[in-house]
């Protein structure tokens, strides 16, 4: 019973924008420990699905369950506190905050959580903890600081030596890393990544691929939903692929099977190819 409840279940979800069906009756599930890739041409509804799951856009129809709980009417911050972390297509990094502070903010929601129950600590207690060195609180903060240190060090020498710099001073690729680091520091059960490799060069894409594989090894229970155009990355990390086109599911299955489906190739490239799509060359 429990095992069927676990995971993210997107059921018959639609999202219309003034008559345009960005997402049209889409259903799929993401199990804990699974990595699922959403691919499809621009405008297929991939990013909209992430917006819908994370609560930033509202559904026009259907529902979304997470670990047996309906989440599609909750505000984004509640959904995040239920263990769903996400990155954005354009990195959102709190520009003026230092790298360290930015990642610390990723852990703040956990800091506020009470030992038992799903409520947050009393705001008056939080204010008091801001003014006085309360031992219990300090210990929790130190715990989060340890997590932030570990997370930053996951990225080798990309972020850690720059931890005191403001985020706006980072390079484009480092800002993408910083955002992923912030999401990871929140220790989510599910991770939604919206085009994490967009704008990265091949070396950086390779580095990110290795990071995601490493993450799968370190956190075997982590469920990952990756929206990505770079099929090399998708083929390396995904257990399963869902191909979307014009808001509908076109094909799904294991990466090789789904990505080489003739309809998929046509939807993606506009023509039928004889060789399987394996490189990113089509992205120009």
């Amino acid at each position: 019973m429990m095992s069927t409840m676990q995971g993210i279940h997107v059921q018959g979800v639609s999202r219309h924008f003034d008559g345009v069906k960005a997402v049209d009756d889409v259903s799929f599930s993401l199990a804990p420990g699974e990595t699922l890739a959403l691919v499809g041409p621009n405008g297929a509804g991939k990013s909209t699905l992430i917006q819908l799951i994370s609560g930033i856009e509202r559904l026009s129809g259907g529902h979304i369950m997470v670990d047996g709980r309906r989440i599609d009417r909750l505000p984004p911050e509640r959904i995040a506190r239920l263990g769903i972390g996400r990155s954005f297509q354009t990195s959102r990094v709190f520009p003026a905050l230092s790298v360290w502070d930015s990642v610390m903010l990723g852990t703040q929601a956990r800091l506020l959580r009470r030992e038992h129950g799903r409520f947050l600590v009393n705001p008056l207690y939080e204010l008091l903890a801001g003014l006085l060195p309360l031992r219990g609180w300090r210990k929790k903060v130190e715990g989060q600081e340890a997590i932030v240190r570990e997370t930053l060090q996951l990225f080798g020498d990309r972020l850690w030596p720059r931890r005191h710099q403001p985020a706006f001073s980072l390079s484009y690729a480092n800002r993408r890393r910083l955002e992923i680091a912030r999401v990871l520091a929140g220790q989510p059960d599910y991770l939604l990544l919206d085009e994490p490799a967009a704008g990265m060069n091949p070396t950086e894409t390779g580095e990110l691929t290795r990071l995601l594989l490493e993450l799968r090894r370190m956190r075997p229970q982590l469920g990952m939903l990756v929206v990505e155009h770079k099929l090399s990355l998708v083929r390396s990390v995904a257990d399963r692929v869902i191909v979307l086109n014009q808001g509908k599911v076109l094909a799904q299955g294991d990466p090789d099977h789904a990505l080489d489906h003739p309809e998929v190739v046509e939807a993606y490239l506009g023509r039928v190819r004889t060789r399987p799509v394996s490189s990113d060359a089509h992205l120009g």
Binding site: S54, A80, F88, S91, F94, Q108, A109, E126, A129, P166
Partner: protein
């Protein structure tokens, strides 16, 4: 009965037409440059005065004087763009807003020097006639306003809708960079928007002068506030919205004045605006998308941010930040506490006491506008709640300080929390206009709640601080009050700095930098906003309470929109979000002008020029925004 109602509606439509014109000028400028133009009121006032001078000094017939005045103010609109906006184009978003404010401070004061601060009769070129339609009546002036206002609005709509230049304006409002790529001269478009703001401002100024048959240098601000409110009601960037907003505001407030009481005219108008924003933050005809809420420049771009300190170029320059650790405030308080031992001059002590009170107030604004990132143009309301709490408790009920001062702190914190509720859904400049409404409501409550606040006369003889718990210790000498203020200010600022350095302060800054990312990271954004308002309110309440004790006389005039604007400029001058900067600016900018008391007339002009220079040279404030 029904006749009275219709007469009021007609009357409301006439005054609403004026609001609509101001709102149009405001929306145009806001649309193309994403800027709250605080100088709109100054243009309005100049329009009325130039026409007045043309008639009385040069002996021109009114229509000629009016056309001349409109032409002149149109040119001044272009000058305003060149002085206030152009040099700060790539600076933080907040810099040009503050620079229009500086210009309005300078212009208003110059007008008082040139035309005298008193109101003067505006010559009517014709006998006023009253027409009766059934039982309802309407005056010829009403008709004049309605005809000219309506024609101007129609002409503007036609221009924007069908002319090439108008298309350029709309394209620039939608996406400046894209419009520039397509060959629209966006610089000229912006100049045009400011010119039109001048035209509409001058026209509405003249119509208002006709309506009230008088002109006075302070007429700009109240009408500018109504114009802002009308624009906000209509949806900020919507042209039909500005007209509908202006007319609705005119009708609502005229009806309020007829059926609730003349004194409640503005109170009802601003309260309804705030309640309305709770349910429809995008305004009547506005768009609910973030990009339409004036956040477009800030929310898109290569590095999304909702911060007021972000700039259109999306690149940020690193700047030096000078700030004290929390204990520095305790040390500063201790050092200042020695002053009464050195001098007994009540002039000096009084000046320093006010300096300390304004340090707290400026810090309180800095917390909201700098750390949390909600531009506050209404903080004087919180300051006033603190002062009135102490006045009522001390004077009316004779309660001791250990009750009255903490009560002022707690009550102001509560008021600030409730006041901030409508702001939650507003973003960027819309939120700033929301705080403006809060400030106005506060001021109008002090003015009209006669049984508690005693209205415009306020309180005289508020008793000196007295502590019953300390055996009835009375602090009546200024040196004794000095110690109380130094103690409260030092401890208050110390505590707030501790909070800013804690996890809470980090969350505030995160919300300021990117509200959406904060939501997505699971931060309880509303809770942090309420906490910020509570803390800021508590600090402002303490300052207000101390102010009542020190001054022993208070009246609503200390807590009007000018006080709010002054506090905001202090916080910006010090460096937004930098508590040391805010406190230092509040302290010094209160004490230094005291020394120039003999030049009182010129003081505000010097202040305005200083503000302009700092914005130009150190747009992040003297000690650097944090």
């Amino acid at each position: 009965m029904i006749e009275l109602f219709f007469s009021q509606v007609l009357n409301g439509l006439a005054i609403g037409q004026v609001y609509a014109l101001i709102a149009l000028g405001f929306s145009l400028v806001f649309g193309v440059s994403n800027l709250i133009n605080f100088a709109q009121g100054a243009l309005f006032m100049l329009g009325a005065f130039f026409a007045f001078s043309g008639v009385t000094w040069l002996g021109l017939p009114l229509p000629v004087a009016a056309v001349g005045s409109i032409a002149l103010v149109t040119v001044l609109g272009i000058v305003l763009e060149g002085v206030a906006l152009r040099p700060l184009e790539n600076g933080p978003y907040i810099a040009p807003v503050l620079s229009t404010l500086a210009i309005s401070i300078i212009v208003d004061q110059l007008a008082e020097i040139i035309w005298s601060p008193e109101g003067q009769a505006f010559p009517l070129p014709f006998e006023e006639v009253t027409f009766f339609i059934g039982g309802a009546y309407i005056t010829s002036t009403d008709i004049l306003i309605f005809v000219f206002g309506g024609l101007a609005a129609l002409a503007l709509t036609w221009f924007l809708q069908y002319s090439w230049l108008g298309r350029g304006v709309r394209a620039t409002a939608q996406d400046r960079d894209a419009a520039a790529q397509l060959g629209v001269r966006t610089d000229n478009v912006r100049r045009l928007a400011f010119a039109l703001a001048g035209t509409l401002g001058a026209l509405s100024g003249i119509l208002v002068a006709l309506y009230f048959k008088s002109v006075f240098p302070q007429m700009g601000m109240p009408f500018a506030l109504k114009g802002f409110a009308a624009a906000l009601l209509g949806g900020l960037t919507s042209i039909p919205g500005a007209v509908v907003g202006g007319l609705s505001l005119g009708i609502v407030e005229t009806l309020a004045s007829a059926y609730v009481g003349e004194g409640y005219r503005d109170l009802v108008a601003f309260s309804l605006l705030l309640v309305f924003l709770l349910f429809r933050p995008q305004g009547l005809l506005g768009d609910s998308r973030l990009s339409a809420l004036g956040g477009s420049g800030a929310a898109s771009g290569s590095m999304p941010s909702t911060s007021l300190l972000a700039s259109a170029s999306s690149q940020r320059a690193a700047h030096r930040i000078i700030e004290m650790p929390a204990w520095g405030f305790l040390a500063a308080g201790l050092v200042l506490a020695a002053l009464p031992l050195i001098t007994q001059s009540s002039y000096v002590l009084q000046a320093v006491v006010y300096g300390m009170i304004f340090a707290m107030l400026s810090a309180s604004v800095s917390l909201i506008s700098g750390s949390l990132g909600v531009l506050s143009v209404g903080h004087a309301a919180f300051y006033g709640v603190g002062a009135y709490t102490v006045a009522v408790m001390g004077h009316t009920y004779g309660l001791p300080t250990e009750v009255a001062l903490p009560a002022a702190v707690i009550l102001t914190a509560l008021v600030a929390v409730v006041a901030s509720l409508p702001l939650y859904k507003l973003s960027g400049h819309t939120a700033a206009l929301g705080t403006l409404a809060i400030g106005q409501i506060g001021f109008l409550v002090f003015m009209t709640w006669l049984s508690v606040t005693r209205g415009p006369m306020g309180f005289l003889n508020i008793p000196a601080p007295q502590f019953d718990l300390l055996g009835g210790l009375r602090l009546s000498a200024i040196s004794h009050k000095f110690w109380l203020v130094a103690l409260v200010a030092a401890v208050g600022l110390f505590l707030v700095q501790r909070l800013l350095d804690s996890e809470i302060g980090r969350a505030w800054r995160g919300i300021r930098e990117d509200r959406l990312a904060a939501h997505a990271a699971g931060l309880p954004v509303r809770r942090y906003m309420l906490m910020a308002f509570a803390v800021s309110g508590a600090l402002a309440g303490a300052a207000g309470g101390l102010f009542a004790y020190v001054q022993s006389v208070i009246s609503p005039d200390s807590f009007n929109v000018h006080a709010s604007l002054l506090l905001l400029t202090m916080a910006v001058l010090g460096g937004l979000g930098n508590l040391t900067g805010a406190a230092a600016a509040g302290f010094l900018l209160t004490i230094v002008p005291e020394l120039f008391r003999p030049f009182a007339e010129w003081r505000m002009i010097v202040y305005g020029v200083f503000l302009l220079m700092v914005l130009r040279m150190r747009p992040h404030g003297m000690l650097g925004a944090r």
